[in-house]
């Protein structure tokens, strides 16, 4: 088909055939081609394209390319892709397994859109913030990385079906559907408190597992991506990505996304679940949706449901309260929606409890005239409302006074949070979209925004401080905290507010290891908070104070503080169970690690462990913490074999949740090593100790205490398993480093000496051994007492030494000091 004339002819015949009845097409073509086989072949080829329904723009509007190269078998970080399990707006999803032998299946999402080298580090950093999200209904982010310029994210693998399918398949009633929505709202609200917005709430991102509980996937990934992209215009893919039927107007317009966007998304999800259709069922294409959502108000759900033939009972259920609630969530203007997901959730709760919903008030506030005309509203209700309106335009008229205040405050907070996220607008030029930058912007603007409300301003600065501490940004956290305190002191902040601010300050110093400063701030905080009626705030301050005192080696004061905290927490019932478990954990460590009071330590570990089993999700960071403490208490009370499976389990779960090289995982490994030594499983102990040592050293450098501790355990295990010379060499390295880093009376030095002494005995260098062991036995006795486990180890070693050198009297003397 080389000549244009020929091409025209091909098209003309093809076009005529298309206009004819399909049955007549072949005959028509043969007739028109008149024996020209090449021509005929070309026309049939064109017709073939039609028959094949080649979908040129099949996915044009909104959906994405269908076929992708199969990447199964490729490795991303410590994961190997196994099987393509999904395709989404932002990329493809594979089921993957760990390459390091840990049995764990994850979902690895490969994100479309190129991440440049200069931004990849930031992408990883931003995305890791998402890993802090900890909620049973949020699929956990396990790891992130960049490979070949494409970001990837490893998430908890969730098996379940999209919520809309699930609800329809199980024919859930309105009540059950709302209950699911409440659970989802709770997860979203939790994320918002960590400054993470989901941005893409839709049925396929809410999966219902076999247990009937929802799990949100893809949390904030778009956000992390835009964060990573700042500094230049975001990629087309990400910024323009929106999901028809669920995207909020501001999203469709490419405007900044805020918490209000998730309120809308949740509203659209609720609409789908409760009405059985999208908010604009007439919008057939994404462009149509875009025009609808940016230019039209959502119709009352009951009317939409009635128009789409939903059964009458459900329409009746929607009419009234649910209409009001959904319309408030789906308002075109973000400022008129619920100020937070929490408020939206509260209204859903109120509906479930048969209470009046707050949305009515707001709806009426804005649409009073229409509303009264449209419905038969009881006269009393209308006049009450008018009264409320004339009083000052506050629309929360149906609530008790203190609730009004709380809501106003929450609303202002919500708006502020919103403006905070708004400042991430990539088009505003110099702004970078990182959480850190957001906080800094907020910190700057909070002064003007709340200029005449210094106490509100102080509260915002508190939030900013807290979030900065969470990010490890201590310097800026200090600055915000200073301003917070200055405002409170200048404008008569309540003792509670001042106490809370000081408590934050103490926590800040704790993070920086400035223990004396921490103590000063926390002492003042505790004094202010003690008379208050908020035991939870007091417990937090006490816990931080105890940590400071432990690090200042003032164990008995720390003990008094912890006892007070435990007493308060015990009196507080269920709401303070979490505080109690935290205190139990700290106290058990103090008793076991520092005071050598192992039986008591075991008691508190057990108490905390039981609470954690009951109230915390299985992989919660604090549950893992108390489990390790519990295992440690078993080890200390001669139940090493019971401790072993717990240590192994804690290590495996931490490796899965936090990664194999995470600080906490390595600390768990060290506990396991100690336990294995106790159980005389020396070769495994040595192997695990070496692994720990390597991983800690590569992250924290050779002088880190954990490097020295694992090297020490390695030395002890190696020596005990027979290679005394190698063990001795390792232990001498530890001792030399400790001598350089710590005062000679430190217990770490003595523990290393214990090990050295044991090796020397094996090597039959008895005189040297005696010298070393006597020093450590006396030293440990002096600083930690005779019942302290390392002290006991020294005693035992001396007994062995004297038995070996045939000095039974000396042996008996040291043996008598042994508890068992």
């Amino acid at each position: 088909m080389a000549q244009t004339s020929n091409r025209a002819q091909v098209y003309r015949i093809f076009s005529a055939a298309m206009d004819a009845d399909p049955v007549e097409r072949p005959g028509l073509i043969r007739e028109q081609c008149n024996g020209d086989e090449a021509l005929e072949a070309e026309v049939f080829a064109l017709l073939g394209e039609v028959a094949q329904d080649t979908n040129i723009m099949g996915l044009l509007m909104g959906s994405e390319a269908t076929s992708v190269a199969d990447l199964s078998g490729q490795e991303y970080g410590r994961f190997r892709l196994q099987e393509l399990i999904g395709k989404g707006g932002m990329g493809v999803v594979y089921r993957a397994v760990r390459t390091d032998g840990v049995p764990q299946s994850v979902a690895v999402k490969l994100l479309r859109g190129v991440i440049h080298d200069s931004t990849s580090a930031r992408f990883v950093r931003e995305a890791r913030i998402l890993a802090r999200l900890d909620h049973p209904a949020i699929a956990r982010l396990i790891d992130v990385g960049v490979k070949n310029g494409e970001g990837w994210i490893a998430l908890e693998l969730v098996r379940g079906s999209p919520i809309d399918e699930y609800c329809d398949k199980h024919q859930l009633d309105t009540w059950a559907r709302i209950k699911l929505l409440v659970m989802i709202a709770d997860a979203v609200a939790t994320a918002h408190r960590s400054l993470v917005v989901h941005r893409d709430l839709k049925p396929t991102n809410v999966l219902i597992g076999e247990d009937g509980r929802p799990k949100l996937i893809d949390f904030g990934i778009a956000y992390a991506l835009t964060g990573a992209d700042s500094g230049r215009e975001p990629t087309t893919e990400v910024r323009k990505h929106f999901t028809p039927n669920y995207a909020a107007p501001e999203q469709a317009k490419g405007e900044p996304v805020t918490v209000a966007t998730d309120v809308f998304g949740l509203g659209a999800l609720a609409h789908r679940l409760l009405c059985g259709c999208a908010i604009f069922p007439q919008a057939k294409s994404p462009l149509n949706y875009l025009l609808c959502v940016t230019q039209q108000d959502v119709t009352a759900p009951s009317r939409t449901a009635a128009a789409t033939g939903v059964d009458k009972r459900r329409v009746a259920e929607l009419r009234g309260d649910l209409d009001a609630v959904l319309l408030k969530a789906l308002d075109r203007d973000p400022a008129r929606r619920y100020a937070s997901v929490t408020e939206f959730q509260a209204d859903l709760h109120r509906y479930l409890d048969g209470l009046p919903v707050s949305a009515h008030a707001a709806t009426l506030g804005y649409r009073l005239i229409k509303f009264v005309r449209r419905r038969a509203v009881p006269v009393a209700f209308v006049s009450l409302l008018l009264l409320v309106l004339t009083v000052g335009g506050i629309f929360y008229g149906l609530q008790a006074r203190d609730v009004i205040r709380a809501q106003n405050f929450a609303a202002r907070r919500g708006e502020f949070l919103e403006s905070l996220l708004k400042s991430a607008d990539p088009s505003s030029g110099t702004q970078t979209g990182t959480v850190a930058a957001l906080l800094d912007a907020a910190s700057e603007s909070v002064g003007q925004k709340f200029a005449d409300e210094p106490l509100v301003q102080a509260s915002m600065l508190g939030t900013i401080t807290r979030t900065n501490i969470g990010l490890g940004r201590y310097t800026v956290a200090h600055a915000a905290n200073d301003r917070q305190l200055a405002l409170l002191r200048a404008h008569g902040g309540s003792p509670f507010a001042v106490g809370d601010a000081l408590s934050l300050r103490g926590q800040l110093y704790r993070g920086e290891g400035k223990w004396s400063d921490s103590e000063v701030a926390l002492r003042e905080a505790v004094a202010l908070l003690r008379p208050m009626k908020d035991p939870s705030a007091l417990c937090t301050a006490l816990d931080n104070l105890a940590a400071a005192l432990i690090n200042l080696n003032r164990e008995s004061e720390a003990e008094a503080v912890l006892r007070e905290e435990i007493a308060i927490a015990k009196g507080g019932g269920a709401p303070l169970e979490y505080a109690l478990l935290t205190a139990d954990n700290t106290y058990s460590i103090l008793l076991g690690n520092d005071l050598g009071r192992y039986a008591e330590s075991a008691f508190y570990a057990r108490e905390g462990w039981e609470i954690a089993q009951r109230i915390l999700p299985v992989d919660h960071i604090d549950r893992l913490g108390i489990e390790q403490t519990y295992a440690g208490s078993l080890l200390n009370t001669h139940r090493a074999s019971e401790a072993e499976p717990i240590y192994r389990d804690v290590v495996a779960r931490r490796a899965r949740v936090l990664g194999a090289s995470h600080h906490d995982t390595l600390v768990g490994q060290m506990g396991l090593v100690e336990d294995l030594i106790e159980l005389k499983k020396y070769s495994e102990a040595a192997t695990v100790a070496m692994d720990t040592e390597g991983r800690v050293e590569s992250q924290f450098g050779p002088d880190n205490n954990y490097v020295l501790m694992s090297l020490q355990f390695y030395g002890v295990a190696t020596c005990a398993s027979g290679d005394a010379a190698a063990g001795l060499e390792a232990l001498q390295r530890v001792a030399a480093a400790r001598k350089r880093l710590l005062p000679s009376t430190n217990r770490g030095n003595y523990q290393a000496m214990n090990g050295i002494g044991q090796c020397l005995i094996k090597l039959q260098r008895y005189a040297e051994a005696e010298n070393v062991l006597l020093t450590s036995a006396h030293g440990l006795e002096a600083i930690r007492g005779p019942r302290f486990r390392p002290t006991q180890v020294a005693y035992g070693a001396l007994r062995d030494l004297y038995l070996a050198t045939n000095r039974p009297q000396d042996a008996a003397l040291w043996a008598s000091k042994l508890i068992d």
Binding site: S15, A45, E49, G149, K284, L287
Partner: protein
């Protein structure tokens, strides 16, 4: 994005135009061209592979025309066709410029939205444009329908509205134009 027209200007122009001011239409087209060209330039500057999704481009362009809903439908249809033509021109101009740009190695601009069966590669904007120009000689309606769909991201319904033909007719023309593009674009060189 300071070079882009303010939405308020667009609104005023649209009003003047719907009141019969022909000059306003020209002005609108010029502004739209500048807008879309700026968007295209911006997108292409940041896309390593010089791919562009007309869908995304179209979304952004339409968003600058927020009063679209409020226009009389005849005006709206007319305007949509004009907007797509402008969009196509802007895209093609930019693609041509990039191809000629020796410094970047004479890259082609790829339309990633165009998806032809098993072949997954995007297609060169200039190829698509040339094929549609050729098709216009044989079948102007099919070419217009295909252009509105491919370069404007319009749905069948929207295309029907813009051209003023029934959905069934548009479907038939679209099938023809689509087959034409598919056959020519996937032909072995």
């Amino acid at each position: 994005m300071a070079t882009l027209a303010e939405p308020a200007d667009t609104t005023a122009l649209l009003r003047r135009w719907s009141q019969g001011d022909a000059a306003a239409f020209d002005e609108l087209a010029t502004r739209l061209y500048q807008d879309i060209h700026a968007i295209a330039v911006r997108e292409l500057k940041h896309e390593r592979q010089l791919t562009i999704r007309p869908t995304a481009l179209a979304h952004e362009a339409y968003l600058r025309l927020t009063p679209l809903r409020e226009m009389r439908w005849q005006d709206r249809a007319h305007f949509l066709s004009m907007a797509v033509r402008v969009m196509r021109q802007a895209l093609v101009d930019e693609a041509r410029r990039l191809r000629a740009d020796k410094r970047n190695g004479g890259h082609a601009v790829t339309l990633s939205d165009i998806h032809l069966g098993s072949t997954d590669a995007g297609f060169d904007a200039l190829d698509v444009d040339a094929l549609l120009i050729e098709l216009n000689d044989y079948d102007a309606v099919a070419a217009e329908v295909t252009s509105l769909r491919v370069f404007g991201g319009l749905s069948i319904e929207e295309t029907a509205e813009a051209i003023g033909l029934s959905v069934a007719t548009i479907n038939r023309h679209w099938a023809k134009g689509k087959a034409w593009l598919a056959r020519e674009l996937t032909r072995d060189p």
